[in-house]
Subunit: 410 residues, 2 copies
């Protein structure tokens, strides 16, 4: 049996492995963590709406009944392209086919020291770090007597106006200005400030301009102050310095940039500025038709020569596409070209508000939010997770109470 | 208005504060964490059955609607008895009445270095540490080729045969021998070992002897090996050395001893061997009728001169009792004596099995487990938490699937 190694159990790797289930291949799926994470809802863990277990599933359980797929929790350290080997922490594995689906992590554009002060949102651990930072700030504000220090505790700065930044800003504004605020007795919603900073001249740059405008207005209604054309120059403890002004805040959240994570950096192939591997028409890398890179780790150029966006849909479709090539052992010269079908983009802005763009149709408001909710529950993996998330959302919809406001770390 | 300070939002402190809600007192409730923890179900978080948010509630939310209770997340560092002050990290507070309800932490009988290797179970963070240790051991076993090392990964040692130890052993045996095991392909239930070590000559020493026997048998049926009369002499990385033999295991869990946590140690009053404050008939301390110690932090002697057990019921009843004294400003000489009403004790042993002793009536098996489940859901605070826990239990009952098998920490 031919050996397939998949590195990464995100949307790309998982869908690829699922497509190879019970086929005549010996598949090994390797991930650093033990779970598949439903990243689109990660911001709700960070803002105390959901628990980690609601949006994550042990990878192993998903392949419990397959006879040909082994799941290994380990880190792929390096790839030996010439000898078709993946080097893990304490061992190495041979492959006939290798698929790298390691995704991306946040990029601080060379200012790695900012990461300590302004955490980004990629893993469950990140989400819990941010959640605890937000809740702790409110706790500190409640007992602070110095008005200047209290203001700092009650100011939340989100850097980056893409979908993650917009969703975070909306959710934090709801917490700080509407829901959790009722629990605190020494400050009012007027005392809390939520700032969203974006370097470009509009939010959600990948969306239609009308929807950007709508999102901005929805955020304003929630009490978020949006700063466009504002570039971050430096971040210090409790301070964000931009080209326009300095923001003083205890909670600073980074939602600004992505870069490819470790494994591909050692891979001797052509890469773009963000470290993404430039792949062939079939997602394979140059001169190695048995090695593929998919999802956020890849730079796949569309007809106009632009890289496909780093979204779940691209990774899922590429995963399924590469699975077909592997299943049929299609020789390089006979392989089809990967074609991305854009199923649309969407983002929520707080409760019962969202913007969506689906095949040219632009939606906003309550209906867009309902659509967003249904689609996200539908794509969530695991029956129990769907039930849990739905219950949490329904409960929250009617009570405005967040369920997971815990500070757990010591 | 007279000022009441309560340190600790466990069962004792919380019930005390609830009893003083909307009374003519200025109450400050201080806790190191931001949540009240339903400790009796903590072992289910440690064994991947429940999420932290299922069994913890932000203290602040519980007093959202009270006008006279402030909640502060802070640590009480010291008490100035003479001047009626509590010293916090950065401030101090005056009181007319002080109630210390700080509970207990695990005791390693002077061997604090054991704590790194054999974590105990008191906080949510402890539970997550244990959960990750268990799951990681199974993951490591799955990819280990050396049989001796793999055996170590597949051996789980629980030290202490009280209710926590028995419940942990039962739950781990279910994971390692019945439920999660289906996810792993390189070892079988016969390869996993769960050892429960107890220094005394029977488990559940506070229960009737017949129930101890029953619990031991139920555990054996689940595949737990029980070692009685076995005293721990030393714990090293991967090794528990006892008077009888040495156990080699990657996962070692401490459920053996409790001691009182920090605050009372600086209090100049009579204490017992475990650091518990010896209190008067009314739970106050000698010469300070306005200072009370309740729950696990107190040594309240019953008629026979034995200290009351460190269980939730004692703390709850003492909390309510002291609230009455405070509400009525009862002078010391007129105060009633606290009388503990034993409502019974119970412990579960895996799914659908439990032992219970209620007012002399001894129960075991399925019916005891049902009773255990109903009582635990009933006493859990928060409507949503009850729903969530019930759903998880029902789901688990029918599917044998654990819902929260995540490794989150980095």
């Amino acid at each position: 049996m031919k050996k397939v190694i998949i590195v990464g159990a995100g949307f790309g790797g998982l869908n690829l492995a699922k497509s190879l289930e019970n086929e005549n291949f010996n598949v090994t799926l390797i991930d650093k963590t033990n779970h598949h994470l439903f990243q689109p809802l990660l911001y709700q863990v960070a803002t105390a709406g959901l628990s980690p277990a609601d949006i994550a599933m042990p990878v192993r359980s998903l392949f419990r009944n397959s006879t040909n797929i082994s799941v290994i929790m380990d880190e792929a350290i390096a790839i030996d392209k010439q000898n078709n080997k993946v080097i893990l922490t304490n061992s190495q594995l041979d492959f006939d086919y290798l698929v790298i689906a390691t995704g991306s992590k946040h990029s601080y554009f060379g200012n790695e020291k900012w990461s300590e002060i302004a955490p980004g949102l990629k893993t469950l651990n990140d989400a819990l770090t941010i959640r605890e930072k937000i809740i702790k700030s409110l706790e500190l504000a409640e007992k602070e007597v110095d008005a200047v220090i209290r203001e700092k505790y009650l100011t939340f700065v989100i850097i980056g106006g893409g979908p993650t930044g917009v969703e975070m800003a909306g959710a934090i504004a709801e917490i700080a200005k509407k829901t959790m605020i009722k629990d605190y007795k020494n400050f009012s919603p007027y005392d809390t400030k939520v700032f969203l900073i974006e370097a470009a001249n509009r939010l959600l740059i990948s969306f239609d301009e009308k929807l950007s405008k709508q999102a901005e207005e929805d955020l304003k209604k929630l009490g978020v102050k949006v700063f466009l054309n504002t570039k971050v120059i430096d971040i210090k403890e409790g301070e964000v310095i931009t080209n326009n002004q300095t923001f003083k805040a205890n909670s600073i959240i980074w939602a600004a940039g992505n870069q490819v994570s470790g494994l591909t950096s050692g891979l001797d192939v052509e890469k773009d500025r963000l470290g993404r591997v430039i792949v062939n028409f079939d997602c394979s890398i140059n001169n190695h038709p048995n090695i593929f890179v998919i999802g956020d780790a890849a730079n796949f150029k569309d007809e106009k020569g632009n890289p496909l966006p780093g979204v779940a849909q691209v990774a899922i479709q590429q995963g399924k596409f590469v699975a077909e090539i592997i299943k049929n052992n299609t020789p390089f010269e006979n392989r089809p070209k990967f074609v991305y079908r854009d199923r649309g983009t969407m983002a929520t802005i707080g409760k019962a508000k969202a913007v969506a763009e689906i095949k040219g149709i632009k939606l906003s408001g309550f209906f867009a939010w309902l659509l967003w909710s249904v689609i996200h529950v539908f794509f969530l993996i695991g029956f129990r997770n769907r039930i849990r998330v739905m219950i949490e959302w329904i409960y929250y919809y009617f009570t405005n109470n967040h369920g997971t406001r815990l500070i757990v770390k010591e």
